[in-house]
């Protein structure tokens, strides 16, 4: 038992499908949101007590809980940054939707989005499946990445309001995450269909070739979600459509950039090594969240209508 172990601590069966679970910081509580079979929205708060999850708060609404009409169709992805005075810059929320638009919202302007990212007139619209903020190391700098169902990954520099980089991964992009949102952008973890995920080294940008990337295969099914450990950004977890959770460790190469013949610099990406693999269920695990307070404590939920508190041990020895 020298390797880190992925162990289920508590498993709680729900009567609805949970789409996302998140820890409430500085507490042992988790929030789960989803929808009941009859179509009503559900929001529940659970607390970890004595080896079980106790329901603290239960909300059911006839339709989705909403404050503002953000999109015309279902909002597939949401990400927030700089809230609660953490990090730099204005607090913002980004949403990505099936109507192909990516919108950025500022809580100070409640009715309209502050930035809209949309296809050019007459161009095809693709479902946006995931969004992620990053590079927010100063008040002005910020980058937003969006992943689409046709495999497009687009990075927008919000300082210059332009597309900074785009690429196509041939498979729909299920999830995007920068390893840290509030530092100079370092790594981007992209998970896609067809059991692939990509790690991009974002330190060196080449004008033509973009960022260096590393391809990895895992789970033998769609990789639904990839999440970095808050306490160590080289460790991340990926969850799969076959109900498995894999723990990976990224190691940097000897030199992070190299010079090409024409004098330009191109990034060199390292490699990800799998540390552990555990199958928790037979349905896809669609969301995973590390606890920011305790290293290794995490919560995940899947299409099997259950949420699980998962412990990953020995991460401090990795």
């Amino acid at each position: 038992m020298e390797k880190p172990q992925i162990l289920v601590y508590v498993e709680k069966s729900l009567n609805y499908s949970a789409f996302d679970v998140k820890w409430i910081p500085r507490s042992a509580k988790v929030v789960a949101i989803g929808s009941h079979p009859q179509g009503t929205g559900a929001l529940q708060v659970y607390e970890m007590t004595e080896g079980d999850l106790k329901l603290l708060h239960d909300v059911e609404r006839p339709k989705a809980l909403k404050c503002v009409k953000a999109h015309n169709e279902i909002v597939n992805a949401i990400d927030g940054i700089a809230g609660l005075n953490i990090g730099k810059g204005a607090p913002e929320i980004a949403t990505g939707s099936r109507d192909g638009l990516v919108k950025v919202w500022d809580p100070r302007q409640k009715d309209r989005s502050v930035i809209t990212i949309e296809p050019k007139d007459g161009e095809q619209r693709r479902d946006c499946w995931s969004v992620a903020f990053g590079n927010s190391h100063s008040n002005d700098d910020r980058v937003l990445c969006a992943g689409f169902d046709n495999g497009d990954v687009k990075m927008f520099d919000l300082r210059s309001m332009a597309v900074k980089w785009e690429t196509n991964l041939k498979n729909g992009v299920c999830s995007l995450e920068f390893d840290r949102k509030d530092i100079l952008m370092n790594k981007l973890l992209t998970t896609t269909l067809e059991s692939k995920f990509f790690v991009y080294d974002l330190r060196t940008f080449h004008e033509e070739k973009g960022f260096a990337k590393q391809v990895n295969k895992g789970h033998k099914s769609t990789v639904w979600c990839g999440r970095h450990l808050p306490q160590n950004r080289e460790i991340f977890v990926t969850t799969g459509g076959n109900g498995s959770v894999m723990l990976w460790k990224y190691s940097y190469p000897d030199s992070r950039s190299k010079k090409l013949d024409d004098g330009s610099e191109i990034g060199v990406v390292g490699e990800s090594k799998p540390l552990q693999n555990a199958t928790l269920t037979d349905q896809p695990i669609t969301s995973f969240d590390w606890s920011p307070d305790k290293m290794g404590l995490s919560v995940c939920s899947g299409l099997d209508q259950a949420i699980r508190i998962v412990i990953v041990t020995k991460l401090n020895t990795v």
């Binding site: 502050v114 949309e118 161009e123 949102k181 067809e194 330190r203 808050p230 190691s251 950039s257 020995k314």
Partner: protein, 477 residues
């Protein structure tokens, strides 16, 4: 019949009977012994020795030995009784009975021993499997215990990981982790976002979680963990100290500043262009090949369809034909109808129109042929196609008459008349033709030549032509 042996010698002790037989030079292989506890039989063909013992013996404890051409029995007495004699002297029947009894006994004994063996074998197997199960259980228990221990250890760490006990963390952590203290954050919670040392030479990286800010209450130093595996060089401690100093200064500066949040963006729009994808479904590598195939086959079909485009060009041609006829271009009309027929050879109206054009051109044979084809297509005769049939009949009739085939022409007109009996002009035409026939037969000029129709015939033909010209110029739309 085996020979009974009677030359045997026997002795007894209080516990045993010692019996010896002469084997008469039979090899030991051929000696067969049957014993029960009151019967003894030794058969070594062609000899046999049989003894109905006086008293009981313990067959299990008795032994037999073959040596020097003799067989020696060591029979254990059941009861320690002095035997007056070895064998009983019994009558034949009694002997038979006893033999049968003995045989039965032997069989029973064999059965018993077999079942005993079986039971013992099963018992052994059961024992083995039970052992295996218990071993597996043990292993499982151990594993469970390990997992439980891991969990409890993990949860215990919560107390030790309390960020308030920053200094004590060193003590509780494992010795093989190298730790480095660095000042990281300021009071208001904004993290020092810039990374300190990372420059690609394998140096330690400071990672920091913005959410960890929440734990900091008084801006204490925070202990960072360091990536074990990748270190190759270490910056000298002096440089690090200098860097730390810089950080301290920065922090102080920041404390003085009031951090301002940037203003709200002014309704900005970024336009993007996606990689084109024909299908609305998400893109997958595994389906790429199939999709490409489908797309290429679709393009092939669409290009083929352009040449073909049956319905539209056919109608176009038909319209053209009609317009050409009305303009007087009968040849053109015929050609157009022919083209249209190439596309759709089953349209009766095309034949009918072509017939009209041919009639106008005086191509009488062609007219007749076209009318015939049109009428074929117009079977079965119904209300709907009566008009069409009417036209065909009239045209054919006209053609016949012009050809001089008056009787056929008459038949046609009569058929036409049948379709529309109320049409007076038709009736008159019928009568005229009948008159023509009678006159031609009267004049004896039964010439069926095209041109030779007699002045009357020709004039009649013309007459009919002009008469019916109006009608035949009516083309089917």
């Amino acid at each position: 019949m085996p020979i009974h042996v009677t030359d045997y010698t026997w002795q007894q002790t209080s516990e045993k009977i010692l019996l010896s037989l002469d084997l008469h030079q039979t090899s030991p292989k051929n000696v067969d012994i049957v014993t029960t506890n009151s019967y003894l039989k030794v058969s070594f063909l062609p000899y046999i020795f049989e003894a109905f013992l006086c008293h009981m013996i313990n067959a299990d404890q008795s032994t037999a030995q073959i040596m020097k051409g003799q067989i020696k029995f060591d029979l254990a007495k059941e009861d320690h009784v002095h035997w007056s004699d070895l064998c009983l002297k019994l009558s034949r029947e009694e002997m038979q009975n006893k033999r049968q009894e003995a045989i039965k006994d032997v069989e029973e004994q064999e059965k018993k021993s077999k079942s005993k063996k079986k039971r013992s074998v099963i018992a052994v197997k059961d024992l083995l499997s039970l052992e295996q199960i218990s071993e597996d259980d043990k292993v499982r228990e151990e594993r469970k215990k390990l997992i439980e221990r891991e969990k409890t250890d993990f949860l215990k760490q919560t107390i030790e990981d309390d960020p308030q006990n920053n200094q004590t963390q060193d003590a509780t952590s494992k010795p093989d982790i190298r730790r480095r203290i660095s000042s990281m954050c300021s009071e208001d919670g904004t993290a020092v976002a810039q990374e300190m040392d990372y420059d690609g030479d394998g140096e330690d990286s400071i990672y920091y979680s913005s959410t960890e800010n929440l734990h900091l209450k008084n801006g204490n130093v925070k202990i960072d963990k360091v990536d074990n595996g990748n270190r190759k060089q270490r910056k000298s401690s002096s440089i690090r100290k200098a860097a730390l100093k810089d950080k301290e200064e920065k922090r102080k500066e920041e404390k003085k500043k009031v951090t301002t949040v940037p203003p709200v963006w002014e309704n900005c729009i970024i336009k993007v262009k996606h990689t084109t994808r024909v299908f609305p479904t998400p893109s997958r590598e595994s389906t790429q090949a199939e999709e490409q195939q489908w797309l290429t086959s679709q393009s092939v079909h669409s290009s083929a369809a352009k040449d073909f485009s049956s319905e539209s060009s056919e109608e176009h041609l038909k319209k053209k034909a009609i317009s050409l006829f009305s303009n007087g271009d009968y040849r053109g009309c015929v050609n157009a109808c022919t083209e249209a027929l190439k596309v759709n050879p089953c349209m009766s109206s095309l034949y009918s129109n072509r017939a009209a054009a041919n009639l106008a051109l005086n191509n009488l044979h062609h007219t007749i042929n076209d009318c015939t084809k049109a009428l074929e297509l117009l079977t079965p005769p119904t209300e709907d196609n009566s008009k069409s049939r009417l036209l065909c009949h009239i045209r054919r009739g006209t053609a016949f008459v012009r050809l001089g085939l008056l009787s056929e022409g008459l038949a046609e007109y009569q058929a036409a008349h049948q379709i529309t009996p109320e049409n007076k002009t038709l009736k008159k035409d019928v009568e005229k033709i009948q008159a023509m026939i009678t006159t031609s037969t009267d004049s004896g000029d039964s010439n069926e030549d095209d041109s030779g129709c007699g002045e009357d015939g020709v004039s009649v033909g013309f007459h009919i032509r002009t008469r019916l010209g109006g009608k035949t110029s009516y083309l089917e739309q």
